[in-house]
Symmetry: C2
Subunit: 263 residues, 2 copies
DNA sequence: AATAAAATTCACTAATACGAAACAACTATG
DNA sequence: CATAGTTGTTTCGTATTAGTGAATTTTATT
């Protein structure tokens, strides 16, 4: 696995941020990767002293952000508590879940609702159909926005200069040999998406994974997110995605948009 | 709504914790309750200066724990990212979801998988059946352990002195007029639960809500959590819970325990 | 356009987070 | 069973830095 700098926790030395908090983030980050770790291990990983790491962990523990069994520290469920709360704050979340469920049932594949946050695409809800789980993309997972169908669907709704800004900030990193990595290719793709009304992901994030996505916008043209259906390339043929499946998603998105407008 | 001190974020003045981190927690806590807030509002709420709150928010923002639109600060999806990751670390999570789904489908009600963390019961997974959502208990939500069927199911599996310790630490706060609030009543109830093999919640956490729960233990007697079915009292009759539904959950739990033992 | 309010930046200082080392608790090993 | 070797926890002095309050910039309001 290449390090694309995903868990951005480099300490910044300008005086505009709290260093101690950043150190906590670093500890959390390391703990996330390791699932379970001890004080010494984390001290080595972060470059902090054992005593300091201990203090951080003790504080995080008091806030339920970290658990400790014996000498094994883990991340706690407070993150889920807050995360689920944040997720439930978006309007129409129950409706969104219902629609996803319909989609998952009708297609038998995985249906996802994705939003963007900063420059990333984040999967907020996920329902899997009968065909079972073809994972990648668990809830909460953050993707580079140009790697995913949902991401491209959202980008296509954004003004060109905003897309440009995202490119300038985050670049166009590759995930597979199919990933779009040049500006011109991306803008061409977004034009196509805009014309079609849906975006397709042809193994651009994971080899063997296909997906279609349709953007969701409210009456004020705000991008709320995107619905997507994803599955293994051997089950989901390209023509299916372009026809039946994109139609299904469109129908769901339209119904959702209508319902949201009346509330 | 009474303040039971749920979001425990009182600053402790012993030198064993990081004060600046605790202040961040306080800000996060306030932000969670308000959904959206500005610097001044948070400064007033926490008693910190505007400048300081700003610095905290800037740092949290850099870590994707907070988002800012215009002058509106909100909690970010990083919490969901980490939370979902923590949740997925528990063994057999896919199996658990499958079983919940079966249960939700068979009963038409809401099926939940709950674990304990520290003295609380936390809903980790949740599947809703056709009868629709009778909410309370979204994913990640933390309950006082004696308020819920799942909590009582887990307590019944714990050694008496550990239960005692929890009571001593957290007390037996009331949520409704049915909540068990005395030690003797609780221990009696746990005896009953142990004999029956399931726990019932008769409007002990929310008026009009009934639930049954069965504990899940592994081959080493470790308590992994509990499965529960919950729904409105008018749909779920007491006899149903004691008979058909508790049997259904038992079957699922047994299958799950078996599967977990072989891995 | 003018005024008000809120967010951000700045400089200074008191608070405190950090590191190093001592101490305690637990593991492994002979 | 004793001893050496880890690992976690606590203590303490000090350098760092987090916080305050005011100045400055930005955004909203009249």
């Amino acid at each position: 696995m290449e390090n694309t700098g995903d868990n951005g926790c480099e300490a910044s030395d300008d005086g505009r941020t709290l260093k101690s908090l950043e150190r906590s983030f670093a500890i959390i980050s390391e703990l996330k990767e390791r699932e379970v770790a001890g004080v010494t291990e984390l001290a080595n990983a972060t470059g902090l002293s054992k005593g300091s790491v201990h203090k951080h962990l003790a504080t995080l523990r008091a806030g339920d952000f970290v658990t400790k069994d014996d000498r094994a520290y883990r991340l706690g469920l407070r993150f889920l508590d807050i995360g689920a709360d944040v997720r439930n704050q978006i309007e129409g979340n129950t409706l969104i879940q219902e629609k996803l469920r319909e989609l998952a049932e009708e297609t038998g594949e995985t249906a996802q609702f994705t939003v963007r946050e900063h420059g990333r695409a984040v999967v907020l809800y996920r329902e899997t159909g009968m065909q079972g789980v073809f994972s990648k993309g668990r809830v909460g997972k953050r993707f580079h926005i140009h790697h995913t169908a949902a991401g491209k669907a959202m980008l296509a709704q954004m003004p060109r200069e905003e897309v440009q800004r995202l490119i300038d900030t985050y670049g166009l990193t590759a995930a597979t040999e199919n990933t779009i990595t040049t500006e011109t290719a991306l803008f061409d793709e977004l034009d196509k998406v805009r014309k079609q009304g849906f975006a397709i992901n042809e193994s651009e994030s994971t080899r063997g994974l296909r997906a279609v996505a349709v953007p969701i916008v409210d009456s004020d043209e705000n991008i709320l997110g995107a619905f997507a259906i994803a599955g293994p390339a051997h089950r989901l043929k390209h023509e299916q995605l372009e026809n039946e499946i994109s139609d299904l998603i469109h129908r769901s998105v339209n119904e959702l948009e209508l319902n949201l407008a009346h509330s």
